[in-house]
């Protein structure tokens, strides 16, 4: 009985292929034969027919065929299936024997050769006596044969040879040994395949023919056997559909057999074989669901067929094998392209196989616990004569006995004992672990991380049982974090307990301590007594003693472990273990919390470390140290309690470092931050808590950051979500859940105790030296040193602003581009308490818009904090936004000497330039002076002196100037002629004397200059008087280089009589001037049209009277003498029946009259008109009254 008796036989698991033997080939010494053989067996890919070939000598003895049974009447079968049967038909009994023979058709000694060939065939036939095996002859020929029918000799000799060998023509083949050997071989092989199929067909028929002789009572076993054989032959025939059908029938027949304790193993074995075949074929037919269904049915049918209770482990072993075999089949099908899913993959079958293997182990453990004195029986009842069993699944000591009664109970007992003793030597754990690792690989593939973890736990436990603690620990440690992260504490505790045992048995100090820490912690679901035991052990270990053994450990293993522990104690070496807690849940929790998110540098930084123990007994720690990102602070935050090793548990309630279970301990730390750390973050990088002391063993628990372990983030989340009201606690105690870790704080500078004021008059005006007065007053209690002022444009604004803003401390001179936008660190000196200083700052803004200005005052002060003298740097800053505006708007226009607007000016003819300066500043402006800088093309008519010197302009007021200019003819200039610049010098009226004056230069617009042929100007008084002579002189100037013919006429006017030339035609020489004198005599008062002068230039028809009107006046004001006349002009604006609103539109009077007389008369007339009009009922528009 081999240990692999449960493995399925190879001949069952392989794919059955037709068996063909080749004889007459000398593959060792004959190169041609060797080549033929190689062609048969090399490259057997799927596209070649499924045949298994074997070279045998021609006189090979094939297994003898038993004489045919004529009647089954007295035949009683001894078992279901002989162990050799499958192998016999796969490898021993051929379907076809091929005789190779070298013979060419034109062989000279044909006769001899022919008879030799016939003899060879005969020998083969002899050894196959009674079998239906086919025989075929292959002639190896050197020559390429002619096409069939052409070679007469060949066909004759072929027929003769067939005759001699008693072969049909179909069984004779020719293999020419030429270049195309492989092609011929493939054709041959196909022919062989057909023969083989015929052979298996007849075999099936033969087996079927037995059926009619069988009866149901005695030949039950034969039904199964025959059915199995038919199916197997079908498979050899490659008829898988029929094979499957027959296997199914066979499977049903197996379960119809009468089962008894004695033959149950045989039945199960056969059922397992047939089931395997069915599942295999189903997968092959790509019907995996059928395979699964068959397997399920198989398991359901066989699960309860345990058989002998003493050997029940055999059943478990068989079950395990069933699952494993199916898993293998499934996996193989997947490799061939089947797709499995998460819930249906081979992993489940391997898992189940592992489960049965575990059961087998359990059963074996309970059934095979014989005492060591019991010897293995001699003679071995499991030995058979041949070394193998005759039938599958029978007991070696009672082979072929079908009776259900045990004929020899003694023999049976010995046999069972032998099996049990053998089972004891089986390496169960190895089997289980292999199966589990198969399953793990599958579940990994099908996205089942938790299943994988579970199986790995089982593997770890199995390694533990197998005493391979290193591997066990490795596996358990690997999966622990999965359970921890999902918070399945029960499972974690169970894993930890196993891990603790492993580490104990190996005396692995660090692991032992780590697992103890976690098992004592809140994640563990152990009972208190267990926890107490572990805590006691832990303390023993820390005091450099051996712990008590873990319960349920193997006694021998414990003995070894105790020795290991003893060695550990004597072994000198590092006894300090640092354990990072972020990956597990220890029994002490730690939280660090700074009192504030930021501290001023002059105040000590304070923080609390909260500790809480979850173990059952109070525990004393030896040291607590806190590490910071700036390690200089580490020294201030250490608590060390010198205590002897044995005091860990004593005086439990005293001392700072003694934790009472469930109570939160708060430890306050304080230190003064360094001034270099101002503006930096102080972070707690780790908290180290030491348990035990350095003389014994010491464990340092290391929390990264401000505390917290693997479970605390989840707990914090829950606590945040919770709305549970917490019971009130005494003052100095806090709820653990309500403590929120704050592991970092900012160090910020001391609060300044000075005031900074800014005084100025916004808005700023473009380009002026804008004055900003900064007042700094100290409110500190001691003197402040090194006061420095930084002022100017606040950095970080538009880059253009920096270019156009300049700051200086000296307002007496205008600053230029070289001045900076920000003045930094202007030393101001020291300030005594209460002292105040003022600093003037001048800003020049080149562009309009708003700017932010920064005034930053820094100083040093000596401070005592926690009895330490430190120098603090304080600073205060003020920002102010200042708008910059234009101080004034300048408008420029060109007008004619008649103050008419000019689009263009005429060459050589005087015109006026009018400037208008409108103040836009909210503050009063002083225009110091103005200056007109003319372009070279312009000339002035009179002096260009400023008319607005020292004028003060309030908001909205304007100052205008008027200059009379002339532009000589320049020809046609594109875009006009430059006029020049207008320069205004100004300052704020409020500005001090020494503040420089600002010059603002305004570029005057260009004008278009045009030439005219004739210029006319009139010389006439500013007004006329009724019935007094009014002399008018017209000057006509020829501006061209030609002689001009001029027609002049004067049109009469109603308001004037005149004397002079009414119509004249004259000639003016180039550059000369002609005078025309008229004497006008006004007839009416008021604004009167002058008699119009019409000039017609014969050479220049464009020269119209329209143009002329620009130069000469068209009307004149004519006055009256007051003594005689008073003229009123009324306009009736609105009338109705009762009242007329009368409005004076114009009035004319002589200024030299007595004003009082005039007014009284005027009022009287007004009254008279009002009264008079009351009675007029008609509408009238204009009235002129003359009196």
């Amino acid at each position: 009985m081999s240990p692999t008796q449960w493995d399925l036989p190879v001949e069952l698991c392989c794919r059955p292929m037709a068996f063909v033997t080749l004889t007459g080939l000398d593959v060792v010494y004959n190169a041609v034969h060797r080549a033929v053989w190689d062609a048969f067996c090399a490259n057997r890919r799927a596209d070649r027919v499924p045949i298994s070939f074997k070279v045998l000598p021609g006189d090979h003895e094939y297994p003898k065929c038993r004489p045919k049974r004529t009647s089954y009447e007295w035949y009683i079968p001894k078992g279901i299936l002989k162990t050799g049967w499958m192998n016999k038909h796969l490898n021993l009994v051929p379907a076809l024997v091929v005789v190779f023979y070298e013979l060419d058709w034109d062989e000279p000694q044909w006769k001899e050769k022919q008879s030799e060939c016939a003899t060879r065939v005969e020998i083969v036939r002899q050894s196959l006596q009674g079998r239906n095996t086919k025989v075929a002859v292959v002639l190896i020929q050197k020559k390429t044969p002619l096409p069939p029918g052409e070679d007469v000799i060949a066909s004759e000799r072929a027929a003769a040879l067939c005759n001699a060998c008693e072969l049909s023509g179909k069984s004779l083949f020719v293999l020419p040994h030429t270049d195309h050997l492989v092609g011929y071989i493939i054709r041959l092989e196909n022919a062989f395949y057909e023969h083989a199929q015929t052979y298996y067909y007849t075999e099936i028929r033969r087996v079927k023919s037995h059926k009619e002789f069988l009866n149901k009572t005695t030949h039950q076993l034969l039904f199964v056997r025959h059915q199995f054989k038919i199916a197997f032959f079908s498979e050899l025939k490659q008829d898988t559909q029929n094979a499957l059908k027959n296997y199914r029938t066979a499977y049903n027949l197996v379960h119809e057999l009468r089962a008894h304790e004695t033959n149950i193993l045989e039945i199960k074995t056969m059922a397992g074989f047939i089931n395997y075949k069915i599942c295999r074929l189903c997968f092959q037919h790509n019907t995996p669901l059928d395979a699964i269904a068959q397997f399920r049915k198989h398991i359901d049918l066989c699960k309860k067929k345990i058989g002998s209770a003493e050997l029940s482990f055999e059943h478990a072993a068989w079950m395990s094998k069933q699952f494993q075999a199916f898993g293998d089949l499934f996996d193989e099908a997947i490799k061939l392209g089947l797709t499995a899913i998460q819930t249906q993959n081979p992993g489940f079958y391997y898992q189940q196989a592992a489960y049965y293997a575990q059961e087998r182990k359990q059963l074996a453990k309970s059934l095979c616990n014989h005492e060591a004195s019991i010897m293995y029986p001699n003679p071995d009842p499991l030995e058979t004569q041949t070394g193998v069993l005759d039938f599958y699944g029978q007991r070696s000591w009672r082979q072929g006995i079908l009776s259900f009664d045990l004929s020899d109970p003694e023999k049976e007992k010995v046999g069972v004992l032998a099996i049990q003793l053998k089972e004891r030597n089986v390496a169960h754990s190895e089997i289980i672990i292999t199966l589990l690792s198969n399953a793990v690989a599958q579940f990994k593939k099908y996205k089942c991380p938790r299943m994988k973890s579970h199986l790995m736990v089982q593997m770890g436990e199995e390694y533990y049982y197998a005493k391979d603690y290193t591997k066990a620990l490795k596996l358990l440690d690997y999966v622990m974090c999965d359970y921890r992260s999902e918070g399945w504490w029960t499972l974690l505790t169970s894993i930890l307990t196993t891990a603790l045992k492993c580490s104990y048995l190996m005396a692995q100090l660090k692991d032992y301590i780590t697992y103890s820490l976690e098992l004592l912690g809140r994640a563990s679901t152990l009972k208190d007594d267990q926890k107490s035991r572990i805590e006691k052990n832990l303390i023993n270990v820390l005091m450099n003693e051996s712990p008590d053994p873990e319960p349920d450990c193997d006694i021998f293993a414990v003995k070894t472990a105790q020795k290991l522990w003893a060695d550990r104690i004597s072994l000198a070496g590092s006894n300090i273990f640092t354990i990072g807690v972020q990956d597990f849940v220890p029994f002490v929790q730690c939280k660090a919390k700074f009192h504030a998110p930021s501290f001023h540098v002059d105040v000590p930084v304070e923080f609390d470390i909260y500790l809480k123990a979850d173990c059952p007994h109070p525990i004393r720690f030896s040291k607590l140290c806190v590490s910071f990102n700036n390690q200089e602070y580490n020294q201030f935050c250490v608590i060390e309690e010198a205590s002897k090793a044995n005091e860990v548990l004593e005086n439990p309630t005293q001392g700072k470092m003694c934790l009472v279970p469930g109570k939160t301990r708060k430890l306050l730390f304080k230190f003064v931050a360094k001034t270099e750390d101002v503006g930096k973050k102080i972070e707690i990088t780790s908290v180290d808590l030491a348990l035990g002391n350095e003389t014994g063993r010491c464990v340092v628990l290391n929390w990264q950051g401000g505390g917290g372990d693997a479970a605390s983030s989840q707990e914090a989340l829950q606590a945040a979500r919770s709305f549970k009201r917490r019971p009130k606690l005494p003052d100095n105690e806090v709820h653990w859940d309500s403590i929120i870790i704050q592991a970092s704080t900012m160090i910020i500078s001391r609060v300044p105790n000075i005031s900074v004021h800014l005084r100025h008059e916004p808005p700023a005006l473009t380009n002026e030296m804008y004055c900003l007065v900064v007042t700094v007053q100290s409110h500190e209690k001691t003197q402040i040193r090194d006061v420095k002022l930084t002022a100017g444009l606040k950095p970080g604004q538009d880059a253009n602003l920096t270019q156009k803003t300049h700051v200086t401390l000296h307002g007496t001179e205008l600053c230029d581009e070289s001045y900076p936008a920000l003045l930094t660190d202007i030393p101001v000196g020291d300030l005594h308490p209460g002292e105040q200083l003022e600093k003037m700052l001048y800003v020049r803004c080149g562009t309009v818009g708003s700017r932010m200005f920064l005034v930053y005052v820094s100083y040093l002060i000596n401070i005592t904090a926690e009895e330490k003298e430190i120098v603090c740097k304080c600073h205060k800053d003020e920002t102010v936004t200042i708008e910059t505006v234009f101080p004034f708007d300048v408008a420029v226009k060109f007008v004619s000497t008649k103050f008419e607007h000019l689009e263009r000016v005429y060459a050589d003819i005087p015109f006026l330039l009018m400037t208008d300066l409108l103040s836009a500043s909210p503050w009063a402006l002083t225009v110091v002076s103005s200056e007109l800088q003319l372009a070279p093309s312009m000339t002035t008519v009179d002096q260009l002196e400023s008319q607005v010197d020292n004028v003060v302009l309030q908001t909205g007021e304007s100052a205008s100037e008027c200059f009379c200019l002339r532009c000589p003819s320049l020809g046609n200039v594109e875009g006009g002629v430059a006029t020049g610049h207008y320069i205004i010098s100004w300052k704020r009226t409020s500005a001090m004397e020494n503040i420089p004056v600002i010059r603002t230069v305004i570029t005057l617009p260009h004008v278009i200059v045009e030439n005219i042929p004739l210029h006319v100007n009139a010389d006439l008084p500013s007004f006329g008087r009724v019935r007094e002579s009014l002399p008018v002189k017209y000057h006509l100037q020829n501006k061209t280089d030609f002689v001009q013919d001029v027609e002049i006429s004067v049109e009469p006017s109603d308001a004037f009589m005149f004397s002079g030339l009414k119509q004249i035609r004259l000639r003016i020489l180039p550059g000369t001037e002609q005078e025309m004198l008229y004497n006008f005599y006004p007839l009416m008062a008021g604004y009167q049209q002058l008699p119009s002068l019409n000039i017609n230039l014969l050479r220049f028809p464009n020269f119209t009277n329209q143009l002329l009107r620009r130069f000469i006046p068209t009307s004149i004001f004519v006055k009256v003498k007051l003594k005689n006349f008073l003229l009123f002009k009324f306009k009736v604006l609105k009338t109705n029946r009762l009242l007329f609103h009368v409005h004076f539109t114009e009035q004319y009077f002589e200024t030299n009259s007595d004003s009082f007389a005039f007014y009284s008369m005027y009022l009287a007339v007004l009254l008279f008109i009002s009264i008079k009009l009351l009675f007029i009922e008609s509408n009238f528009k204009d009235l002129y009254f003359l009196r």
Partner: protein, 176 residues
Amino acid sequence: MPLIPSLWESKANRSLEFSCLRPALGAGAGSCVTSGGSRDAARAGPPKLAVCIAVIAKENYLFYIRSTPTENELKFHYMVHTSLDVVDEKISAMAKALVDQRELYLDLLYPTEDYKVYGYVTNSKVKFVMVVDSSNTALRDNEIRSMFRKLHNSYTDVMCNPFYNPGDCIQSRCAE
């Protein structure tokens, strides 16, 4: 003075509420958890409904678990835990479906030799897992569904209890 009576009143109300809720809670969870939920029912001998029942939080930690053969609790813990693989997979496949077409019942998660594991997920991703004996053929899909629905209802009752703290493990009286 008027403050004191009102204080009294509210206290009285609260205790009343509490006592009303307790039985509802116990009966709800208990009736469908197992027959062991009420010992009288166990004696009367109705067929066992489920061998193990578990309520699992969105973050996959246990809210509540109870199994009838208490001696092998660990096995059921593992079974429920491993079934979460399938639940996760089903949920992620379901996430693509429209919200209102979502089916809460997840069907059979996976069969083992001896047990069948069924799953159910609420809209807030709280999972219910039920382990049923494979041999118990009386339980068909419909029964399982209705059991889950009952369980869901009693879970909702627990959540509605103002004294329940979300995230805590569920303490059912029948579990004691």
